[in-house]
Amino acid sequence: MSTVEKTQIVEFDVRTDEMLVNMGPQHPSTHGVLRLVLRTDGEIVSEVTPHLGYLHRCAEKIGENLTPRQWSPYTDRMDYLAGMSMNLGWSLCVEKLMNLHVTEKARHLRVIIAEMQRIASHLVGMGVYGLDLGSFSPFLYAFREREKILDLFEEVCGARLTYSYLTVGGATADFPPGWLEKCESFLEQFLPVIDEYHALLTTNAIFIKRCAGIGVISREMAISYGCTGPVLRGSGVDMDLRRDGEEWYTNMYDGYAFEVIVEKDGHYPNDHTYPAVPPEAILGDSWHRFYVRMLEVRQAVDLVHQAIDCYRKAEGSCGDPVKITEKLPKGEAYLETEAPRGQMGFYVVSDGSAIPWRVKARSSCFCNLSVTSDLCRNTLIADIPAIIGSLDIVMGEIDR
């Protein structure tokens, strides 16, 4: 058919040229040394390209010259806000390679420490997220509670941030006397504080307006990008390694009753009184990720209670760590554990000597961050901190 020349006036908006803006590596809300190059047209960001590597310390290259127990201090410097979970992941991976089962008491000790670390890590995540959206006070409330947990950890292993307490074979030391009572008293006074956080942020109208419907990650996108942890569960994917992970990891949690925090057919497991989901929130947006983290704190408190009872009943040693220069059997092993920010995987290849041939750490935030370039397309500048804050990334773990 003849293409009739039809002159039509095509209307363009007022043409403004684009601007390349560097958000980072020194920027108040990029959670460490992350550099985002934003292509903006006025306030609207048309494209985001993250640049990593500012905190790359070649941990994996060093891992090829150290024995596993010597390398564990490197693991808790990866996700420095959840050092215990990193140590736990690395020890379990090496124990899987050596097929070394720890004693019953050590298992419960590890659950207590891992879940307390999850509370501390989510508190930081929550506080800093409030900071990203401009309200300063939640940050201080969160850190007040986190200080108490750090004091408890300091009593256990002497360090507040980089512990290297849980090692291959169990833990370097048992709980000091009276520690469990202190832990329980902390948990008692912590419950009303959680409702404070809900009132302060989760149900705050401006917070909801800034988070709901922002940075929506669909179910398929989350799985395809390999997002894990609260980011995955925030998009409605029912996956928690503590329940459906590898058998070597899940038997650490058998005998514990807990519900995976994910929105199944419209509502979350309501075994506790939580504030309701606001109508504006779409499954998979920043608000849901934040909400999943807050509920996981509640879930972790229950888990610690159960673990303390089991620990009191179990007897025997709290696990005797292997020799520093223990010979590793030939072969390779890969194990993922449920760290607070997502699934932290460790892969070790050994050629039979005490020093592993290759060590690889699979970082959860590495995959969670890879979503940003798709997520932040034509959003506003003010949404970038909101989205990245909701992913709760730690640069140490990403750059290793």
Binding site: C58, K61, M221, I223, G226, Y334, Y347, R358, R362, C367
Partner: protein, 176 residues
């Protein structure tokens, strides 16, 4: 979990593309030739029986013993290995895919070995492959944007290779 019959089903479906299988290892793995990688991966992801829709981890291992004394005792000849850890959310099972690559493309030093990129199948492979290209020097053909991710863009050499020599200085900063 019936790994054996799944593997036999896979074998007769792909035949010679699967070169080796080892189910006794701690993490059972199958070895695949580079050319058949895309076909097998799409099949593993889409077939409901396997359903490996989640690529947990993609890592590289450099099998090369630099000092000659130990090299004699080693029972493998130098090669690069790509290890794909797959996970199925529905069936809660895991599988390991291995791809053996020569250290340098047909023996010429500084000629990077080629592997088809699986970024099209799992979006997470995009960054993982960039990291392996950055640290191991394996080129992924078909990758949307193959650049260094952890080291600076103009870094020379591939750090995680066993025969890697740290440069003496970088932009005036002494490294060694």
């Amino acid at each position: 979990m019936g790994g054996q019959d799944l593997i036999t089903q896979l074998k007769d479906h792909f035949g010679d593309q699967i070169r080796d299988v080892n189910l006794e290892a701690i993490d059972p793995w199958i070895e695949v030739i580079p050319e058949g990688l895309i076909g097998i991966c799409t099949f593993l992801r889409d077939d409901p029986q396997f359903g490996f829709d989640f690529l947990s981890c993609l890592s590289g291992v450099d099998y090369f013993q630099p000092d000659p004394k130990k090299a004699a005792k080693v029972d493998w000849e130098p090669h690069l290995e790509l290890v794909y850890h797959l996970w199925s959310i529905a069936n809660k099972t895991s599988l390991v895919l291995k791809v053996i690559l020569p250290r340098w493309k047909d023996g010429v030093v500084d000629e990077l070995p080629e592997v088809p990129s699986v970024a099209g199948i799992w979006r997470t492979a995009d960054w993982h492959e960039r990291e392996i290209y950055d640290l191991f020097g394996i080129r992924f053909s078909g990758h949307p944007d193959l650049r260094r991710i952890l080291c600076p863009e103009d870094w020379v050499g591939y750090p995680l290779r066993k025969d890697y020599e740290m440069p003496v200085e970088y932009h005036g900063i002494r490294c060694r």
